[in-house]
């Protein structure tokens, strides 16, 4: 029992640290990618290539003056960013970061909890994530914050539906709700015992899921909740210092986690091409697989940034049109199609 708890505890600590580190360096990467796409240099003052920029930003956030509006509800004002951060960090629990390691006869799973309902857990946490923005925006007692919060909640609820429907098609195909099972089913890739990743069987589902992930993370082109041209700063207009930092940080963590979930569901998770041909021991395959998983995550984070600096922001009615009239009918069509295919062509 003690050994089990220490192993899980260490795993939680490692994943917590990695999540925070990736989120911190995503802020740096975002500015570098933006600079690259706009033919600029980007941050290069703090440390070599500006690599210490995230630390400098973090320190700046801590030393900024903390302002809590007099009229706001203090408890809820502090609760908002806390919930945003908490829910952002909670999803990492069910993501299979790697296969199992066998050390000294003991098997160590590189996943904190292999829930039977893993994907539903992810959805549950995502659906709670909206409270952070709503409570924060309402407690600010500012019209712009309130509008931002209302937009955020409407947007997240609308896109959650399409996201869930996209996942239903995937569940129809894989026959499991556990993220680890889904990863294991995609074992192989190109090479011996070849096997395609889920994206080959579910291209439409993947597209819907990707668009909805952008909307759930409030990333451009769907960053209406913090649309500067209309709403000053959106839901975090009144926030300053580290509370603002937590909101911004939560967005990057969400981006990291959703990249991880997309990689797991559609891009083979910790599997990589030719993994059965290398003739390495299972432990080495696991280690390389985890490295590949993080490479996939990095690619998707880059993709998030690439889109952000390429496509302009949607208008609010366009966003709702896309969600309700584009994504949901398409997702239902995808379910029907997947059902027919799995009925007539047994995989």
């Amino acid at each position: 029992m003690i050994a089990f708890l220490t192993y899980k505890g260490i795993l939680v600590l490692i994943i917590f640290t990695i999540t925070l580190a990736v989120a911190a360096y995503s802020t740096y990467a975002e500015r570098k990618v933006a600079a690259f796409l706009q033919d600029r240099i980007g941050p290069d003052r703090a440390g070599p290539f500006g690599l210490l920029q995230p630390l400098a930003d973090g320190a700046k956030f801590f030393f900024k003056e903390e302002i809590i509006p007099n009229v706001s509800n203090k408890t809820l004002f502090i609760l908002g960013p806390s919930i945003a951060m908490l829910t952002a960090l909670m999803t990492g629990v069910v993501v299979p970061w790697g296969n199992e390691l066998v050390i000294g006869g003991n098997t160590y799973l590189l996943q904190i909890a292999d829930l039977d309902v893993g994907i539903l857990y992810v959805f549950g946490v995502v659906s709670i994530g909206v409270y952070g923005i709503m409570i924060g925006g309402w407690a600010s007692n500012n019209k712009f914050s309130l509008l931002g919060a209302i937009r955020a909640s409407a947007q997240m609820i609308s896109y959650e539906i399409a996201m869930g429907l996209a996942i239903i098609a995937l569940i129809l195909m894989t026959g499991t709700l556990s993220l680890r099972e889904m990863s294991l089913q995609q074992m192989g890739g190109v090479g011996a015992h070849w096997n395609f990743w889920n994206v080959v069987y579910q291209p439409l589902g993947f597209l819907i899921f990707l668009v909805c992930a952008f909307a759930e993370c409030n990333r451009t082109p769907f960053d209406l909740p913090e649309c500067e041209t209309e709403l000053v700063g959106g839901y975090h207009t009144e926030y300053s210092s580290m509370k603002l930092g937590l909101y911004l940080f939560a967005e990057y963590i969400n981006m990291f986690i959703s990249s991880a979930v997309i990689s797991t569901l559609y891009f083979g998770g910790f599997n990589f091409p030719f993994m059965n041909d290398l003739g390495l021991s299972a432990n080495w395959i696991t280690v390389i697989g985890t490295a590949f998983f993080f490479a996939k995550i990095t690619f998707f984070i880059f993709f998030f940034m690439w889109i952000r600096w390429t496509i302009p922001r949607f208008r609010y009615d366009q966003l709702m049109n896309l969600g309700w009239r584009g994504m949901i009918p398409l997702a239902i069509f995808n379910i029907v199609l997947s059902g027919l295919i799995s009925l007539f062509v047994h995989r």
Binding site: N73, L76, L115, D116, V117, L120, Y121, F123, G124, V126, S127, I128, V130, Y131, M134, I135, W138, L146, L147, A149, I150, R151, S153, A154, I157, E160, I161, L177, Y316, D317, M320, N321, W324, R325, I328, P329
Partner: protein, 179 residues
């Protein structure tokens, strides 16, 4: 261990349920109701009904409560004082709640032998799916058609709005957009 967890969750559930009723601000009531839902989901997990717990969180805490919060924010009901109710309304509320309790007690009275054994696996997705698609297929399909109809209805309402907008050719207000 499980027993202590049960007592803890029950304590949280009952306390926050009482706070839902006694707190003055509607926003606080909703937040306490969310905590109640979480502790009830915890009870489901204790009964090994993970699917039910997850769906409970997604549907109640994640969707319905967000809509409640949404409405209260739009109506701006953040007053600490509530208007005085007439005694007629109070008596009607007591009668309604009392008859609701009678119905609940009557329906749960004979339910003791249906109680799941702790640690049983009836709540796991596989077993639940088998029961739903075998024994309760017709009610399940009917309720899913009902939900689908609601969703199609929403899409249709959205479409109608667009057509009137084009006809009148007026720029929609913020309130229209939110709806």
């Amino acid at each position: 261990m499980t027993l202590y967890l049960f007592y803890f969750l029950s304590f949280v559930a009952i306390l926050s349920a009482l706070l839902v009723v006694f707190s003055k601000s509607p926003i606080h009531s909703i937040l306490y109701l969310i905590i109640t839902f979480f502790s009830i989901a915890g009870h489901y997990v204790l009964q090994n009904a993970q699917f039910l717990a997850a769906v409970h969180i997604i549907v109640y805490a994640g969707a319905i409560m967000v809509l409640f919060l949404y409405v209260i924010m739009l109506l701006n009901l953040n007053k600490e004082t509530e208007p005085h109710k007439t005694s007629l309304a109070k008596i009607a509320a007591v009668i309604c709640a009392g008859s609701m309790m009678v119905v609940l007690v009557a329906s749960l009275k004979g339910a003791s032998y249906l109680m799941a054994k702790p640690g049983g696996d009836i709540g796991l997705v596989k077993n639940l799916g088998k029961v739903l698609f075998d024994e309760f297929l017709l009610p399940f399909e009917l309720s899913s058609i009902l939900l689908l109809a609601a969703m199609v209805g929403v899409v249709m309402v959205g479409k109608q709005d667009q057509r009137t907008q084009i006809l009148t050719n007026t720029p929609s207000t913020e309130a229209n957009k939110i709806e």
